[in-house]
Symmetry: C2
């Protein structure tokens, strides 16, 4: 999979936190780096600060000479861009993305680009902070981040190598899996947690009676704070993710419900010895997960 | 409600984190302070360090002269102690506790103690750390902590005043509510979060297939970490709490399920505009809860 980026021209489309941080991390590692944002002030910022070599106003101009293009846009915008700009890429070019759902993007990319001889390979870097936008970007965002690359049976070997080289260059840990496996995996490891956080927030805080509402607000402490934290995420972003990953999310919901119903039945029927055993099993799993995470890169979770 | 502890003899029964910290915070504020632990080394520790004035081996001896006794024991042990030692308290004495469920304890306390002219009033201080035991105790544990005091229609005014004075003396913020209201409140604000954390941990990590298990362990990040955090709590303690609060917990589960089913139906039927609106409502509630918490005592949540 060894391949150098040194002779490649790379375009980063979309200069939010992830796109701008990627440009910062790629700077100096490729022949030419082009950035595109629909906002003039962002194009000026990345040019003035030497984050990119070029920042044309037109997205067509930004991608037309690129050997590798990375679409750093919201999921539906990635799909729209692939359809609208399919004819703007040069033949033989490689296109990837950073979307956190892969099936719908990879299908759209292959359908839109294959007729023009352009190669699409999906990527999903697990990176981010609580901030958004170009001005929150920093070059170390991808250090040790996990990236999924999701080729299909249609994927060209050399296109896969280019995308692999791209993510290697910015210091990520790469896993190659299929788009469907990816989407089922993240439905479990990430998407369903957001639905639970939303559900607990609504069921605890969405209370009309003023006295009860005040008591609920006051009575919630650190347990609730952490269980509900990701309910404070972006509603539009999570709508896009859940909409793009509908079926795997419904499967993850069903799997959660199986366990939650088991917990409920143990409580309802007073089988508290079994409840305690199940809780001990959960604690054992979570403690071993924390130990696993702490053993990776010497991080402290 | 003003009353001094200066002329009172106080007994703290059970010298774990909460009991020992309470003794430390009460030191010098009452006439006499007695501690009891079933562990000889803990009795020696609190005596040798001047945390209490007396630490007799016998629990009967520890409570027999106390004006106020505070039972700092696990929930079922509080109930057992009340039944077994009802005859050991002096007539007119006041007994309270620190159990995190109130209905069952208050009923047990009133039934067991009223015949001997001893007054029971339940308390629940919302205090603790991730540590346990006397050696983790510190005098500031109760500073600004919220305490629920839960009188009933049977509660004597002067007994309520004594318990109020006790918790005032250690710097807590006091709320007086009924045991039933308390138990429904904490079922929502605390207990159900532990069941969700357990459910998500089991549904994500309890996977037999080695490859999928490895991918789940690897793929989980900060969202899962926080949503699942309290699944690492003590299984025996949470068994005791849930067992003692069975019906309110089942009601809180039902309320959560109503919202979670609404979320699921929106996803299943593809009504993503409504899903986004509901997510925005959850975010608004949680963000306003965080702002409310940050405005209390200038804490940073």
């Amino acid at each position: 999979m060894e391949m150098s980026l040194k002779d490649k021209s790379i375009a980063v489309i979309g200069l939010g936190l992830l796109g701008t941080s990627l440009a910062m991390a790629l700077k100096g590692k490729c022949r030419e780096l082009t950035g595109w944002s629909r906002q003039e002030k962002v194009r000026r910022y990345v040019l003035d600060n030497g984050i990119v070599d070029n920042a044309p106003e037109s997205p067509s101009e930004a991608v037309c000479n690129a050997d590798i293009t990375v679409l750093c846009l919201p999921i539906p915008v990635i799909c729209d861009f692939l359809r609208q700009h399919a004819g703007d890429f040069k033949s033989g070019a490689v296109v990837t993305d950073i979307g956190s759902v892969k099936g719908i993007i990879v299908r759209t990319g292959e359908e839109a680009l294959t007729p023009s001889g352009v190669k699409f390979v999906g990527s999903h870097p697990m990176a981010g902070t609580e901030k958004t936008g170009a001005f929150a970007a920093f070059p170390g965002l991808y250090d040790h981040a996990e990236v999924f690359i999701t080729p299909t049976e249609n994927t060209d070997e050399s296109a896969l190598s280019s995308v692999y080289a791209l993510w290697s260059a910015v210091g990520t840990a790469i896993r190659v899996i299929t788009p469907d496996y990816h989407d089922r995996l993240v439905a479990h490891t990430s998407h369903i947690s957001h639905l639970l956080a939303l559900g607990i927030t609504l069921s605890v805080l969405n209370e009309d009676d003023p006295q009860l509402r005040r008591d609920r607000f006051s009575g919630c402490a650190t347990g609730f704070r952490d269980t509900s934290r990701i309910a404070s995420s972006s509603p539009s972003m999570w709508r896009e993710i859940i909409e793009a990953n509908q079926q795997p999310v419904l499967e993850a919901i069903a799997e959660f419900e199986r366990y939650f119903n088991e917990i409920k039945e143990l409580i309802k029927s007073g089988r508290f010895d079994e409840f305690e055993k199940l809780f001990a099993r959960g604690k054992e799993l979570r403690d071993s997960w924390i130990a696993y995470k702490n053993s990776e890169h010497n991080c402290k979770w």
